[in-house]
């Protein structure tokens, strides 16, 4: 497949963003992703099971994430579960989205500062 432009995916859908964020730096299974998102957002964002797997399927189709064939240490491994990780493209897309959000926040802050003066 030809190299795809990460900007084509922006802005990311909320669900996509949260899932990809929980896969940075670690591989995760579905249950883990759900829990991490729940914790990170203080219970505000719950990825319901069918939505979660539907979204995972789309992300795999878009080649943003992939199934991992490496398993974690045996005592942590849940043999029934499948693990997912970001692809190269996925990392680039996530980085681009983060940059976009940072810029947005930056604009917001400078505007607030201006108002404060």
């Amino acid at each position: 497949m030809a190299k795809r432009n990460p900007d084509g995916f922006l802005p990311l859908k909320t669900n996509w963003f949260h899932i990809m964020l929980s896969l940075t730096g670690q591989e995760q299974h579905g249950y883990g992703i759900m829990n991490e998102v729940l914790e990170r957002t203080n219970g505000k964002v719950r990825l319901w099971p069918a939505t979660l797997y539907g979204t995972l399927k789309r992300l795999i189709e878009e080649e943003l994430i992939e199934e991992s064939d490496e398993r974690p240490a045996a005592e942590l491994d849940d043999a029934r579960r499948r693990y997912y990780r970001l692809t190269k493209l996925g990392r680039r897309v996530l980085a681009a989205e983060c940059e976009r959000l940072e810029e947005l926040v930056g604009v917001l802050r400078s505007k607030r500062r201006l108002e404060a003066i």
Binding site: W48, P49, L56, K57, R80, R82
Partner: protein
């Protein structure tokens, strides 16, 4: 609660599409089981509901996303083989377009309710117009009908709004008219003269103050009482009614109701519309009305009615076109069968094309099945393709039908508008669009399903061996399909020959006149409707003729009851009085027309023998001997070679003396014969009642110049209130008919081509399928040394056999059809004299060539089969 939710959750999870289920099904269930207790704890019942709802929402979404992928894939596959896609869309476009046009016709004529009518199912009408006396008796039966009204339709009025009068069509109505149909006036009230909404908008500028204003109707000032409801153009609205004139208005205003029309029980000019009382059935109402009619007829009003078994018949009256149920059934049945046949043929073609395609894709399908795609999924994939084709076909078909019916409407309006303004639009509407897409869905599903099932039934192990045949199917498997093809070829040959016969006969049906049409103008006036008495009318014509003839730019002028060679002229029988010993002779179907003095001079037709009518003939309106002029054909048929001048001919009760013979005014090409014609003088007697189409004024202008405004000026100088309508040149008058014939010929030619295309596409499909089926056999033959030409011959032989068998069958049918047509229309046969062999040999040749060409292209593929690959198939 939790176990119950979990049970639903598990069941729902099983409903995911096969592929999703294979990969994620277990995970989804597992995750649900893992979190359900926590969710119940945290969010209670709403959390549980949310969990199930999430799943219930995702299941259809997954199916949709699959469908989207199927469609994208289908589009890609179709673009890969544009030839097949084009053939399928063309075949289906015609196959759907023609039934759509047919349904559009049915929709307009049979299915539409009377616009604006309240509860149209409760309205009944009499099948035939009846007398006012009958109507009054029906009306008195309050226990049957909550209301009954009578009206006379298609009544022309001469209406002047400020300036010059125009001819407007309307209805004469009884006082209950609007109430019975259930209509209220949009502006004003319905008690009095009501104008239609269309008239109000187009002629009165939608002015609300128009109510209460004066309108000159037939020369009398009448106050407008109200404006009718939106879109209402009268009961039976094909002839749009713009005026609703109460019958109670004075007789001078409505000359059609002169001579005490409301009290004559034999004047059957009144259509009756009745609204049933609740609880009364159509049957019991009919029985009661029948009794009334029998009583009336028993009272001696109407003797000849006794002959009939049934005196009155009631029909549903709430539709735009009341029609007896059995005729409706025939129309539905006939058109329905025809439509189903056309759709069936093109769908069979589609199925053949798809089968051929599926056979070529056996390997692709087998691989997908082998790697775990479900059969259901593959069937859906194949169905997506056939549905896509069907939708494209439906779009093409709808456009085709819209164009066809638009052209038909224009033609019909142009033709009928000479007599009455036709308020009909045959173009398909929203209902028809729905119908078209329903047809497409049926075509796509019905005829895509069988090939899809057949294609995915493959036992995929041998199929994987490079597309080998699982089984070499014998010819018998193709038996039904082949038979169908034979019939299709036969059918299209019949259609081709018969339509060719009609198309070649077009010139014979066209009107060709022998007289000079240059600078000849026609227009109609209707002085009786403009309030003239018979004497005034006669005087008016005298004055008008003098003025027109003395005008420097005019050469001559005359009157008649219709244009020369009027298509609508009354056809009647004349009896030739015997001279000496020969018995009386009757000549049938002679066209009879009234003509004024100078008629033939104006036409620049030289009287062959005798004289033409003089002014004295017009004034001599008494019962005594009247003169008549006959055409050359009439002279030959009536008197043979004898001299007709001075001989007597009798028509009904009138006796005429032949005073002149004129050449035939028409010539039918190719040596055909003209029909006999007789002219009688235009006398005062003709003016006592308004003529249906008014009086046709015929003026020959000297040359050039704006003759029409000149004539208008002359007429206005005599009486500015005289209504002048239907102004045209003689050439235009002829062209309307000739154009109609021409376009009918085009339509027939279209049918012929349509049959050719369908048959060719069908043959190409069958051949392609047979080539795909016999790949292995062909490969072996080639490996054993068969040359491409030999292989081609092998494949073509089979198609040629079908074409030959079909042609032979079709030829017999066509021959019979042509003989039948020839007896039905002798002038057609005559004009085709000498061309029949050309048609009967040329048409099969054309069809055969096209059909073989259609077979050749798919057959040529067989020569491209690589024997190496074919042999590896085992």
């Amino acid at each position: 609660m939790i176990p119950f939710c979990l049970a639903i959750y598990r069941r729902l999870a099983r409903a995911f599409p096969h592929e999703f289920q294979m990969v994620y099904g277990a995970d989804v269930v597992q995750l649900g089981e893992d979190v359900i207790e926590e969710i119940a704890r945290k969010h209670g019942i709403f959390g549980l509901l949310r969990l199930v709802a999430d799943l219930a929402w995702r299941v259809p979404m997954e199916y949709l996303s699959e469908m989207r992928k199927d469609l994208i894939y289908a589009v890609r596959m179709l673009f890969k083989s544009p030839g097949i896609a084009m053939a399928a869309v063309l075949s289906l476009g015609l196959g759907i377009g023609v039934p759509t046009a047919g349904f559009s016709f049915i929709n307009v004529l049979l299915l539409r309710d009377l616009p604006g009518a309240k509860d149209p199912k409760r309205l009944l009408t009499t099948e035939l117009p009846t007398s006012y006396v009958h109507f009054e008796r029906y009306r008195d039966h309050r226990e049957l009908f909550s209301g009954v009204t009578a009206y006379v339709q298609q009544v022309p009025f001469s209406v002047a709004i400020g300036g010059r009068p125009e001819r407007v069509f309307g209805q004469l109505v009884s006082p209950e008219y609007f109430e019975v149909i259930g209509l209220r006036a949009m502006v004003g009230q319905t008690d009095g003269l009501v104008v239609s909404e269309r008239f109000w908008k187009e002629r009165l500028n939608a002015d609300r103050d128009a109510v209460g204003r004066m309108l000159r109707v037939n020369g009398h000032a009448v106050t407008i009482a109200g404006v009718g409801p939106k879109d209402f153009q009268g009961a039976q609205p094909e002839v749009g009614a713009d005026l609703f004139v109460p019958m109670a208005m004075q007789a001078e205003l409505v000359p059609d109701l002169g001579e005490n029309a409301l009290h004559q029980s034999d004047l059957k000019a009144f259509d009756v519309l009745m609204r049933l009382e609740p609880g009364v059935t159509e049957k019991s109402a009919n029985a009661a009305v029948e009794t009334i009619a029998r009583q009336l007829d028993g009272e001696g009003f109407d003797a000849d009615r006794k002959q009939k078994a049934q005196h009155v018949r009631l029909l549903p009256g709430g539709t735009a076109t009341p029609m007896p149920p059995e005729i409706k059934a025939i129309l539905f049945g006939l058109l329905g069968t025809l439509m189903a046949m056309i759709l069936g043929i093109s769908c069979t073609n589609l199925a053949n094309i798809l089968l051929a395609r599926a056979a070529g894709r056996r390997k692709e399908i087998a691989i997908r099945l082998a790697v775990g795609a479900s059969r259901f999924r593959l069937i859906r994939q194949l169905l997506a393709e056939s549905l896509l084709l069907a939708l494209a076909g439906a779009a093409a078909g709808f456009v085709f039908a819209y164009w066809l019916m638009g052209a038909a409407t224009t033609m019909l309006r142009k033709f009928v508008a000479r007599q009455v303004p036709l308020n009909i639009d045959l173009r398909p509407d929203g209902h028809v669009l729905l119908f078209t897409f329903a047809l497409a869905a049926i075509a796509g599903l019905g005829f895509g399903l069988a090939p899809a099932l057949a294609a995915t039934k493959t036992d995929f192990t041998p199929a994987l061996k490079n597309g080998a045949l699982t089984q070499l199917r014998g010819y018998r498997r193709l038996g039904l399909r082949n038979l169908l093809m034979v019939f299709q070829v036969a059918g299209s040959l019949m259609v081709l020959v018969i339509t060719g016969f009609i198309v070649l006969g077009v010139p014979a049906k066209q009107r060709h006149v022998t007289f000079d049409t240059s600078n000849l103008y026609l227009m109609s006036i209707d002085p009786v409707r403009d309030g003239y008495s018979p004497d005034q009318t006669a005087a008016l014509f005298e004055k008008l003729r003098e003025r027109l003839r003395s005008a420097p730019t005019m050469e001559n002028a005359a009157f008649a009851d219709g244009p020369p060679e009027n298509l609508f002229a009354a056809s009647t029988a004349f009896t030739v009085r015997s001279l000496g010993g020969e018995p009386a002779k009757v000549v049938e179907s002679v066209s009879k027309a009234m003509a004024s003095a100078n008629y033939f001079a104006t036409l620049r037709v030289k009287v062959a023998s005798g004289r033409e009518f003089s002014v004295r003939d017009e004034q001599n309106g008494s019962t005594g001997s009247q003169p008549a002029i006959i055409s050359a054909t009439a002279a030959e048929q009536m008197f043979g070679s004898a001299n007709p001048i001075g001989r007597r001919i009798v028509n009904e009760k009138d006796s005429f003396e032949v005073v002149g013979v004129v050449p035939d005014l028409t010539s039918r090409g190719f040596g055909g014969k003209s029909s006999p014609a007789v002219w009688v003088p235009f006398t005062k007697r003709a003016y006592s009642r308004p003529l249906e189409g008014g009086v046709t004024l015929m003026v020959r202008a000297a040359s050039g110049g704006d003759a029409i405004s000149e004539i208008r000026h002359e007429i206005a100088a005599i009486d500015p209130n005289l209504n002048m309508f239907h102004v045209r040149t003689m050439r235009e008058d002829l062209d309307v008919w000739n154009d109609l014939i021409q376009s009918a010929g085009t339509v027939y030619a279209g049918f012929g081509i349509f049959g050719l295309i369908l048959a060719s596409v069908g043959l190409a499909g069958v051949t392609a399928y047979s080539v795909a089926q016999r790949r292995k056999e062909i490969g072996i033959r080639m490996a054993l040394g068969a040359k491409p030409g030999q292989v081609l011959r092998l494949v073509m032989k089979e198609s040629a056999a079908m074409v030959l068998a079909g042609s032979a069958l079709g030829f017999l049918g066509a021959w019979a059809g042509v003989q039948l047509l020839a007896t039905l229309s002798p002038d057609l046969a005559e004009s085709l004299h000498g061309k029949q062999p050309l048609l009967l040999i040329g048409a099969p040749l054309l069809l055969g060539t096209l059909a073989m060409l259609a077979c050749y292209f798919p057959a040529r593929r067989s020569t491209a089969i690589d024997p190496l690959i074919a042999l590896r198939q085992e």
